[in-house]
Structure formats: C-alpha cells, structure tokens
Symmetry: C2
C-alpha cells in the first residue's frame, strides 16, 4: 500500500484519483449556544479536516468543506461554507449532492434545551444554574440513512477502547470506513500537527503511523478513493 | 480630553504615561472542561485585551498579559502567560504584583461541578445528561479585595441595561473604573475589530465613540493612566 502510494506520488498529477467526484467534508468543532455570550464546544482545531479537503482537491475532487468556527485558511480549490451549530452543519450537509461524505468535524452530541435570549446573570439568590441538555441530530447517521447515500467516512476520537468504539460506530451508523483516533495521546490529538490513526471497514483494518496531518491526509484520501472505486463507483 | 490625547500622540514617546508602572491585563475567554473533549466557553476574541496590552507597553508600562485560548500574536514588549480555566487565570493573576489590574477577559461565571475523566458516551438508555454547574471564583473581586489592591479596571459586556449593570458591578467589586460594552450590537461585539464603550467611575462617565480596538485601546490606556496618577500613584 505504501509502495503504491509512493509510486502514485512520483507519477504526479497525471493520476488524479478523484476526478469529477464530489467530496463533502465537515471540519472543526460546533458551538451550541447557552445564551448570547456563552456556549458549549469541543476541542478541535479543524486541521485534519482542512488537510483532507486540500488532499482531495489535489486529487481532482470537487470539494465542499463545511467548517465550524476555526482559524484556518481555506485550502486552494476548495468551496468552504462556515457554520456554527450542529443543526446548521446538518442542514448544510444535507443540501450537498456528495459522492463521498467525510464527517471529520467534532460535532457536539448535545445542545442546551432552553437557550436564553439574554445573558444569564449571577444573583445572590438563585445559585448556580443547571443546564438541561438535549441530543443533537447525528449528522453522519442522517447522511448515511438517505435513500441514495454517498459513501460515508466517519471519525472516532476516543480516550479509551478506541477501536471497539469505532467499530461499533461504523456498524451502527452504516459507514463505509471509520478513522479511529486515540485523543488521550496529546502528541496526536486535537491541536497537534501530527496524527496517527487506524482505519476500519467491515473487512479490513489499516494502520497509519504518526506523521504530519498533511501527509496523513494524502494517504487517507488515497485509501478512501481506492475504497470508493472498488465498492461505490457506479 | 481628545485635544490632550492628540497633543499627547503628536509629542511622541517623550511622554510615557506608564513608565515603570506594572500593568496586569487578562484577555480572551476561559474554557471550563466538561470532559476531555467538551468544554463551556464564552465568545471573546481577546482583541480588546491584546490591544490594551500593546497600548500600555507603548506607554512604558511593564505589562503582564494573562491570556485565555485565543489565536493572537503577543504584542511587542509584553510578557504573556497562557491559561485555560478561570481558576488558572485567578491563580496566575494573584501571583502578579500589579499597580493596575485590567480584567478584560470574558471569564466563565460557572464551571461544571463534576468533570468526567473520560469522554461521556451517548447510550440509548441514559438519555441526555444534565450539567450541574458551580460558580467560579470572581477574579476581579478577589484582586480588588486584597489588602493592598492594585487600581482595578473591569469590563461589563452586556446585552441590555448595559450601564446599570456596569455601575452595579463597579460598586459591588470595588473597582476604580468599569468599561461598559453593549455586545448586542454586532458591529462592536466579540469578534469584530471595532468597539465603542462608556467608561464609568464613582464620579464620572466618559463616552468613547466607535473606532478600531487599537485606537480605542490607546484612548482607554490614556484615561486609565490619568485616573491612576490622579487617585492611586503613591
């Protein structure tokens, strides 16, 4: 696989793996408002998703990048749509006609049930509030459950039992591939520039060693494109 | 006042208003963990606090900038200390021997009572969780309540009754000055580059019109320095 990848790279732009393929990628965190000044969010720099968007565009794909609040430049050749909440992200994702959908965003599982119109005030009497949460829609699951779904690729960022959780997520959400990521290792987590992952499908398990997110993104896009041409291309 | 300021600016670096004065400034949001991947935070770019740090350093102050998670470059001549939570920010602030303390950070009023060691999992049975919050220490109030407190300057970011809340905060926390900011106006809020404020003390009320945060910071530092020399300089 590595050999094929190196040959691929050396052959240069003549072999575009995703020519004419529409790839939608979500990246970064979402923000769920508590009131006009407070919110709940997740640790996510968006670097991995942006690197994937860049790598997919380099392979000739027509890339839509749906980005939560991050401080990153849009990769060349990529159409970017900025969103805030999980619901915004889902609505935007459903509006795309994708062949491949890569859910790389760290979507908030929960939002606040009753969002306050004005800033909550501390008062001596009321004490600390309790936040009632409600479950957000599951973006990947919703996309994968469409009548003609794209090939869906998920990410599982976990702090323990990483591959077990990932495999469960793959099956439960009917994904083609899942990228499992141990975020308890700070060298490869959230805001770091490196990553190391294991990609699982129903049939195989491929390990990608620690390297820059840019390099890893190129290898992942190669892996995803290969899977797409083998199993999904009409 | 404006005339004095313009003369001041034209006279150049010969008139350094804060020579040898130690100014500590907090800036940006804080992040309060829910579990290893989730947190509660506030909208705050940190731009206003960083601009104040820059302006204070330009006036010869010895500036310590205590910054929550923001994507901003450290202004020249400023000593920066990065922190995450409100408790981190307070501990760091208490360790400084400041003459003037400017609390510009959007500190989380609440943190989560029981922070989970591992990522909370969605399961079919348990339903959406409820987050029990507890009150964070009040940084400005704690600094101002020290036996030999620095001159304390607060910020009040409000969405309604802005000046009334600000004046209450000034008295309750025993501040010298409070900078009142209507964040319901998106042209001058959170992530915008402009700001417009009203600065209140026990005795006066000074309006600063909408302008860039850099320009406003220079005017505010001038106002703060004037107040310091009039009321606090030993």
């Amino acid at each position: 696989q590595l050999k094929a990848f190196i040959i691929e790279q050396l052959q240069g732009p003549s072999t575009q793996l995703l020519d004419g393929v529409h790839v939608t990628i979500t990246a970064g965190p979402t923000r769920e408002p508590i009131d006009p000044v407070r919110y709940i969010s997740n640790h996510s720099s968006g670097k991995m998703g942006f690197a994937l968007a860049h790598a997919a565009a380099q392979q000739g794909a027509n890339v839509t990048l749906i980005a939560g609040p991050v401080d990153l430049a849009t990769p060349p050749g990529v159409q970017r749509i900025d969103v805030e909440s999980a619901q915004d992200m889902l609505d935007t994702a459903l509006a795309q006609a994708a062949d491949i959908f890569i859910g790389c965003a760290a979507v908030a599982d929960y939002r606040v049930a009753d969002v306050a119109d004005h800033k909550m005030k501390k008062t001596a009497n009321t004490g600390a509030p309790t936040l009632k949460l409600i479950e957000n829609p599951d973006i990947l699951k919703t996309i994968a459950a469409q009548t003609k779904p794209p090939m869906c690729v998920g990410f599982a960022a976990e702090t323990r039992d990483v591959e077990a959780y990932a495999l469960d997520k793959l099956k439960r959400k009917k994904l083609a591939l899942i990228v499992a990521n141990d975020v308890s290792n700070t060298a490869i987590g959230f805001n770091s520039d490196d990553n190391a992952v294991v990609v699982l499908s129903e049939d195989d398990r491929v390990v990608f060693e620690q390297q820059s997110k840019q390099m890893l993104a190129q290898q992942l896009i190669h892996h995803i494109a290969t899977h797409y041409h083998k199993h999904f291309r009409k």
